[in-house]
Symmetry: C2
């Protein structure tokens, strides 16, 4: 035992006070926490309480010399800090007192402070010149429990599928030659089809279990094996099979669906054209009905009107071709027609030309190609005729009279694929985050003079800040996409127009998030992230195109914004502004009255961590942007500016609205889910993740909130500090949080993510 | 001739008024332009002037019905808009008047308005329901002239080198197999060496022309052929050869430099270790001097202490190995030693193990590998002994007594490579921008009901906004890096510490810019950008690692910030905080007094476009961040927080300062250059590019300026609008601006960038 000038009562608080005061983030609500703890601490005399209270006065803080004395007292104790203790700082304090004054009990009030202030070892493990016993990750939360929460009611499907991925056929390897890679992926697709996974979303009569939601989970998990596998699988069963299922009728189902689900009939989805990427309504391929022969003639009119980037084009026997259907000389709009491409010997049929797209930035296991049709004839029955048919008398018939509505109804049935693409992007982000964080929990770099070991990468504030919010967002987006698919599959809600708009926006923000995340992970792993063996490189190449296919993100956000502007009443439409304009008048009045900015400079923790504040801020932005957009468009129209031009002039404004709405949607969906969580401990964790995501997202638009006067400078700064702090608070749990993504060990092949 | 209610005098102004009023960006200074034009228009009667003035009152704007009448009048004229006219709107106005009233002269005042307001065809080509004769690009500026400005005094070197790249050996092709690709690149490197390019930066005695600045230009242009070529070239001649040139003495130069420059001696630069990426001082490889044999023993002590990612490792005969030099049992710090790796039969020498790094995200034409040394002995003479030597008597000697200073002096000699990496990144960005913009000038998408042709991608405001500022930044960064290399090479400034710090920051912001730009271009080209044939995919993979190698960007920005904090007086150092702390006291006082925020809500064009405003804003941010950082660190230190911990706590703040300083440096360097430009027309263009870059960059930190009260909300919004507007103003010249990058036709192989 050495001497100390402080009494035992005071001494036990010294390490806490030193940590608190050397940190410059103390706010009123946090001082309250300490005051309450002291107030109810029965081990303290009134005199000690008075002294401790005095040292809590932010207007008259303890002198620097006092702080130095505290630090000296702690350092001289030579007590070792053990991070693996449940309450490391409280236990450390107890040992410091015991060192100076003999055995002393562990104080419950200190535990309270430690928990409530969220003091984490990395807040103080450099502050004292004492030895630190490190552990990389806390076991306070359980990864398996978290994974179970994320899987929800789909646990069985997911677990079975993950087990399936352990088959050697999915063993990850470097594939540089596209022909060889495509064969590997084709074999994997067939393997999964044989197990029944291909037909999962189809009706039971055709080998399926009618589980589109489970399909989406499986689709995401496929990314853990390989991106090309996901996309090839999606093309075969989701796009080609999906078009037969959703746009065809019983005769098509009976003839093709079973074989498609088993991957015995390989097919492709021929929509996009070289000259018309985003403008599907403007495609040039024609499907002309010839009443004499009762056949449909598929034709590519110009050299840039070929089908482009068609996945599975080299392996397919058949294509679902989107073309302008012309019956009796009248263009009835875009319809899908099944067109055989190759014979049993896999030779191209007459009039069909297929050209390999060659190597791509990623997804080289998918055989993308261009297809030209030169007067190719198919029977009338090959028209997928659920929404538009050619009757036996050779006349066109559709129950949906409005051609616009018909077009968007057809396209709408395929929106499930768009959710799946976002899910796959999310899966890629989860994988990259897991690699980067496992690496950061092992890799050390630099050190100070006191410690022998260098610091773990994850213990650098910059490293925490670059990765932790992205982990939090993965949780939010997971829940948002899960609920979106649930609604999409809900047969009690037949009108999917609103969901289509929502999916358009979510797909955009989430695939951009996925790309940003994978890039951040690449850089966070340094040179190791650049090596193919560590998997991030492939993910980067594969996920990149997710921002473009299944709808270009920019175009989708514009659609999304138009949906918001028209209160989801207009057609899901890229060029038709009429419907939007019609109801603009109502919108403008509706939205204005509800805007009521508050809390401009409220910065206490309770407020900043309250989901009500986040929701209000998200909602305010959506409403405000809607209002100002509507006003601008109305003014243009009043001046006689054509509506096409008016919408062009506000294009960047529309993008902002599309994003704002999608951000709000993702977060409110997540909050609704967290509200239903039963377990308080995990609920608190999910709440914290949501808070980090929300504050981080609001920070992205901080300049806008400041411009609007919705936030003052003090609040904006406080949010930035809270984001950094939340990252620190989550530091001990970051390992468990990525393990909670549930990526099976047999898929986690990156050497830097594996303990050797 | 039809009738119109307006007089000819009024009528000629109608198209202008309609364009002006349907746009909502009119500010006081712009109204002044129109007022002045009218005031001095001798063709106008006083009555007409009064009418036109009345229609300029923003407090009492013309009625919507008036605007509609204007539009009707214009549309009814059926006059065709010809974009290729020098003054398209003025010419259009003249024709409208002539249509209604008979031949009417072209009004000079209208031309003035058109020029001074920067009214571009895409401001109005949808506004009137008239036919538009399009041209994609204006010929007002000349691409060759711009290229000449960018090349400056290095025109001959650049032009010769670009011609050299037309040799079939540089013909771009897809290379998937790394062995084959590496051989292709090796042959290219040898080809260039034979032409004398390898030795360019070496003294004339060794086959060179002592032109490091020209070398940097060549290095950037090499990216137009292939990224692997640049990097392989840089490793051989810049890193390996550079270490001999800069760290060795005459005996090394005589023995190796000529052969190195000719690529007859292939070498690698073995600095980085698996366990020590960014912490070079902490590398573990030892070089122990054995006085008995007069030899140095190179040894890799642990399994993670191998050299890692060593470019040219598979092809090299020799390595420049960085190791802890131990003489007489004393560690004298990191030194470089030449170590033969292979014999003439290309077999590894005893004790040396090399392992291929395998496939990477990009740069697969570069043979990166790991190297282990097991007690490998080399003669004492192989120590590159310019800054530290082992004398004949076996004692260590260095003129630089301070080991820290010695270490950073050695590393400092290699800073030229860091500039070259930034240049190469910039070259990649220029290439991607050229592809994306040439594509956007050809590709059409969607349209309105009036026009037959769909719009060009580049005519969408979102597309302009995503690409134009990046083009502007390429100009700014080009100039900044050029001037930086000039200073680095200036023998009259022997102390390079400040330049090292500046290079650290510029390398970071520019390689990040390059990656963001290439990604934006990929997405802007949609699916076409994903195909390898269009070159953006390879650039994405190749340039990605530029953010990590030659110094991790995050680590470099921290160094840069410490340089700013210490006013460039401290060692260029990642771990030593002492020097920084010593002068912090002075800094804090110095900086505070000079902060004087002004113009909080000044939004007129003259102010917002004035470089003085931009410089003031950049400078304010650097100073303010320096001040607040210094205050925070001082407070921590006062409380007894160890300096290592104090710097950790402010790490994200340091990053912000590093970026802010680098942004300021790039822009002020650019402005200094523009000031020297002789040709007024081109000078105005460069000024406009600088303004766009500056406002765009300031927008990135808008939330900070708002938080600080440096800008009010109105100003922040005005800057955003000005950025969009400048993009529109530059629209007709965007084709010339990318042609000005001077990428030779034989390198521009992307099919989407070529006119077929």
């Amino acid at each position: 035992m050495q001497e100390s000038n402080y009494s035992s009562e005071i001494l036990q608080y010294i390490p806490f006070y030193y940590v608190i005061w050397s940190d410059d983030l103390l706010t009123t609500s946090e001082i309250n926490v300490v005051q309450n703890a002291i107030d109810t601490d029965k081990t303290l005399s009134d005199k000690s309480k008075a002294q401790l209270f005095a040292w809590l006065d932010t207007y008259n803080p303890p002198a620097d010399t006092e702080l130095k004395k505290w630090k000296q007292t702690i350092s001289n104790s030579s007590v070792k800090l053990v991070e693996s203790e449940t309450y490391p700082l409280s236990a450390f304090s107890q040992k410091v007192v015991s060192h100076y004054k003999g055995n002393y009990p562990l104080n419950e009030q200190l535990k309270q402070i430690e928990i409530q202030l969220g003091i984490q070892p990395n807040h103080y493990n450099h502050l004292f010149d004492v030895a630190v016993s490190h552990e990389a990750t806390s076991s306070f939360y359980n990864a398996h429990d978290i994974d179970t929460i994320l899987k929800g009611k789909h646990a069985k499907v997911v677990d079975d599928f993950r087990k399936t991925l352990s088959d050697p056929i999915f063993k990850w390897d470097v594939h540089r030659n596209k022909e060889e890679f495509r064969q590997v992926v084709l074999n994997q697709v067939k393997f999964l089809a044989n197990k029944g996974y291909g037909a999962m979303a189809y009706p039971e009569a055709y080998g399926g279990i009618n589980d589109m939601e489970g399909y989406a989970y499986m689709f995401e998990n496929m990314m853990f094996a390989d991106g090309s596998l996901s996309i090839k699988f999606g093309v075969q069963f989701g796009l080609f099979g999906g078009s037969i299922q959703k746009l065809g009728t019983k005769k098509h189902h009976d003839q093709y669906l079973m074989e498609t689900g088993k991957a015995k009939l390989l097919g492709c989805f021929a929509m996009t054209e070289t000259g018309h990427g985003s403008n599907v309504r403007g495609i040039k391929t024609t499907a002309t009905y010839d009443s004499k022969t009762d056949q449909i003639i598929i034709h590519t009119p110009g050299k840039n009107d070929n089908k482009e980037y068609i996945g599975n084009a080299l392996h397919s026997k058949m294509a679902s071709v989107f073309a302008q259907l012309i019956v009796n000389g009248k263009n009835e709009g875009v319809h899908a027609i099944l067109v055989p491409l190759r014979n049993n010997n896999h030779e191209l049929l007459p009039g069909i030309l297929v050209e390999d797209n060659g190597y791509k930035l990623g997804l080289n296991g998918v055989d993308n190609g261009k297809i030209w049709f030169n007067q190719v004839t198919v029977p009338r029955e090959n028209l997928l005729n659920k929404y538009g048919d050619i009757k036996e008398d050779g006349t066109y018939y559709s129950e949906i009279k409005n051609p616009n509505k018909r077009f968007f109804t057809m396209l709408g049935t395929l929106v499930g694929g768009r959710i799946c693409v976002a899910r796959a992007g999310l899966g890629g982000a989860k994988y990259a985050l897991t690699v980067a964080i496992k690496h950061a929990l092992k890799r050390r770099q630099f050190n100070d003079s006191v410690k022998i070991q260098e610091d773990l990468l994850i213990d650098y504030p910059t490293h925490q800040l670059r990765l932790t919010p992205l982990v939090a967002s993965a949780y939010v987006y997971h829940v948002a996409l899960d609920k979106m698919m649930q609604q999409y599959c809900d047969p009690s809600q037949p009108d999917k127009r609103k969901i289509e708009t929502q999916v358009a926006g979510l797909k955009s923000i989430i695939t951009w998030y996925a790309n940003d995340t994978i890039q951040e992970c690449r850089e966070a792993c340094g040179g190791k992230g650049y090596l193919i063996e560590n998997r991030i490189a492939d993910l980067k190449g594969d996920v990149d195109i997710f921002t473009t296919f299944e709808g270009d993100n920019t175009v989708l956000l514009l659609l999304s914004a138009k949906g918001v502007l028209s209160d989801f009443k207009s057609e899901f439409n890229s060029a038709g502004f009429t419907a939007v304009l019609k109801i603009l008048g109502i919108q403008i009045n509706d939205k204005l009255t509800t805007i009521n900015p508050v809390y401009t400079n409220k910065v206490d923790k309770d407020h900043l961590y309250n989901p009500k504040f986040h929701k209000h801020a998200f909602d305010y932005r959506t409403r405000r942007l809607t209002y100002s957009l509507a006003m601008r468009i109305r003014d243009y129209i009043k001046k006689g500016v054509p509506s096409y031009q008016a919408f062009l002039k506000v294009q960047t404004h529309l993008l902002a609205l599309g994003k704002a709405y999608s951000n709000e949607l993702a977060y409110t969906t997540y909050c609704d889910f967290v509200d239903t969580m039963a377990n308080d401990k995990n609920k608190a964790l999910f709440l914290k993740l949501g808070t980090l995501h929300a504050l981080y997202t609001l920070r992205q638009d901080a300049e806008w909130y400041l411009e609007q006067g919705y936030m003052g400078g003090t609040k904006s700064k406080a949010i930035r500090q809270r984001v950094e702090r939340l990252c620190t608070e989550l530091r001990p749990h970051i390992g468990v949080l990525v393990d909670g993504f549930g990526i099976p060990d047999h898929c986690m092949t990156a050497p830097i993510a594996i303990d050797h």
